[in-house]
Subunit: 224 residues, 4 copies
DNA sequence: AATGAATGAGAGTTCATTCAT
DNA sequence: GATGAATGAACTCTCATTCAT
């Protein structure tokens, strides 16, 4: 297997103004389709022929935009990474100090639900599987995604938790560890079942139940 | 890609008892070697040639014992499941009622350390990756492994937790949920880093630190 | 019966005793056919598919015997080099001292004819073209063939010429240079026409005429 | 592989005189660049993309001027043939009768050096290889080049030799054969080494030594 | 006239699988 | 029972060539 190359927007295929208008759209379309194929088949099992057919073009066209399968994969992933950004997942969360524990609980619940809902989306699960499955063979792959995914979430959560500590509502040795604990608690049941293929995408109610349980446990452990 | 067939222990080729004995030994040997190859290369990237060479036989011999690559893979996995049994992982744990919270903590710590050490072993990680990576494509695969792995552990843990509840040390709505929480807390840091390829196998000290943190959080949340 | 597995030194390409008997014959056959294809089409234009079809097998079979197109090409060439050996070309030439210039002339004529006849054979011409054509891109290729071909001939010729010098029949500053001159004179007309594709394989008479002319010029220049 | 089409100087696309002028300049430029590419890579290995990139245009532009790769190749070669003309190679040679053998020797030496220097130029060698390499597949190719190259030189040499015969300095059955012999003697060593890739471009001293040797042998053989 | 984009055909190579011995 | 040999199908990737703009 090769290395997974990074995208190289400007190869010998420098985007002319014309290309910028038409070609970039095509490029995006290819990436879009390729993502689906890679996610559903895995890197190894996905074939350029399959992707080309799904795009509705020829293999050679794929190679006009990406120098290799690995580069296409890289483009898909780096494009995907953007969608993982916390902003998109967390949405607009209330800012400022928390009045009391009830408000802290409400905030954690809100964020927890959004987080779990995101993690349980079929595409997210497929991506998780893909990356975990290949992480042993492509070391940077796992690192990149860990940073764009879990780590980013933990950082945001630890910000919230740190705030609650400052407000005198929570107590923790290390807010990052606490954030990791919270994230883990959120994933404890439904997300595990999903990952292992035991269940289809969960209902909102299931997600709410998991998060309630996680928040309760977390607060019981970390409140002052 | 094909389906992953289940093992077919009772081949259509058993002849004499002698053969059966000899053949079975060979069969085990093949599975043993194939496991290593599958775990280190992944299902797709592992080739029958590689396995045959590693076994020290010819590809045709492989096909004398297994009808296809998928069937061999299935045999490897079903054979592997046995090693996941809780007994092997938990070892001999103290039985009987807990005197006080300190003893409960000690027991959880002991079990947690064994559990995490097991989950962080390179082979376990490789297996986890392999199964998670293919779970989307081979539905029964994930289920089988979830039951043999996480679920089994949760069941044992919930036994312990239920005992502590009976002893009046812990309090929980549902000991199974609590067990899931404990397991998740154990996995929160080191194991995640490992999975995503951010770190090599952890030291005992790292494991101990993770488990201390998990036990502390868990008890803070669930003690009466 | 109690044997552990047969050794299989690794890949699927080591020659076992069985292979030695059957497979080596196949190997030779492949080389034989491949030579024809390479010679008539050139290295670049010859395709593995074409060769496989000509052999009457599949491409995969080719790859069972040779790791790559280049390796097959190499095998063809090194096999071909053997046929270039002077012994095969010169045949049995009279040994011992020459009595007079007439005998020297006769020996040179005999050898010259054999040499030119060999050089004018269609396969030899095709090989010459192939090697010269690729020599710029594969440096060792030209060297190998020069040594097996022209250089070898020059060495033998210079032996003969040196003998005549010792016999007091010829005079030259350097017998190797003289031998080079003789070889060049032999190639001056018919072989050039052939090389450039101006004429088909020459008749014996044409060869004889060329050699007579070359020998006459050579002796006029080098006799004492 | 296709046939190599002949040039089609009068394309079917000439429009206005202006265009014709501008277009012809472009056409020449393409041929110029394509020659370099063909010579350095060989016909098969040279790709239209490479040529287009080197020209600084698009592949489609190439096809606006030449109907196919083969036609472009043909145009390159027929354009190249012109540069092979004897005048350019021989330069201004002394005319008129030779006074004595020493003057004949001087003239042969002068011409021989120019000739060999020309034949040893990297571009000439590359062209020689290209043509010889493809001569088997493209019959007219070799003929065209033989006539423009070796044959032309032989004709000029035979003129010189014929003059010397008329002056009573040389004696030969056929001045054309003698000229062929001289040319061959010139090529006997350095040029052979070069062709087979054994040596880089020779120094002037090497060329001079070869020619001295060739002239000496030639005169020894052909003087009255 | 010039070109960016697209593509069918085919290159070398690998692999799971079969079968005569 | 074990194997060496063989293979069809599929892989990634390239190239000469065309066409709408």
């Amino acid at each position: 297997m090769g290395q997974i190359a990074q995208k190289s927007r400007g190869t010998d295929k420098i985007c002319s103004p014309v290309r910028a208008a038409r070609g970039d759209r095509r490029r995006e379309a290819i990436i879009e389709v390729a993502r689906e194929v890679f996610l559903s088949e895995g890197y190894g099992a996905a074939s350029m022929s399959t992707i080309a057919a799904a795009v509705g073009g020829s293999k050679a066209t794929l190679y006009a935009y990406f120098r290799s399968k690995a580069e296409l994969f890289g483009a898909v992933l780096s494009n995907t990474t953007e969608d993982l950004g916390g902003g998109r997942v967390f949405g607009e969360a209330p800012e400022g100090p928390c009045a009391d524990l009830a408000e802290a609980a409400a905030r954690l619940t809100l964020i927890g639900r959004r987080l779990l809902a995101f993690m349980c989306r079929p595409e997210t699960v497929a991506l998780y599987r893909l990356v975990i499955g290949e992480a042993g063979r492509f070391p940077e792959l796992g690192e990149t995604f860990y940073k764009a995914g879990p780590q980013e979430k933990i950082a945001r959560l630890s910000g919230l938790i740190g705030g609650c500590m400052a407000d005198g509502l929570l107590r923790a040795d290390d807010p990052v560890v606490a954030a990791g604990h919270f994230l883990s608690l959120c994933r404890a049941r439904t997300h595990q079942h999903l990952l292992w293929g035991l269940a289809p995408e969960p209902s909102e109610a299931q997600i709410a139940a998991d998060i309630d349980s996680a928040v309760r446990t977390f607060l019981a452990a970390y409140r002052v």
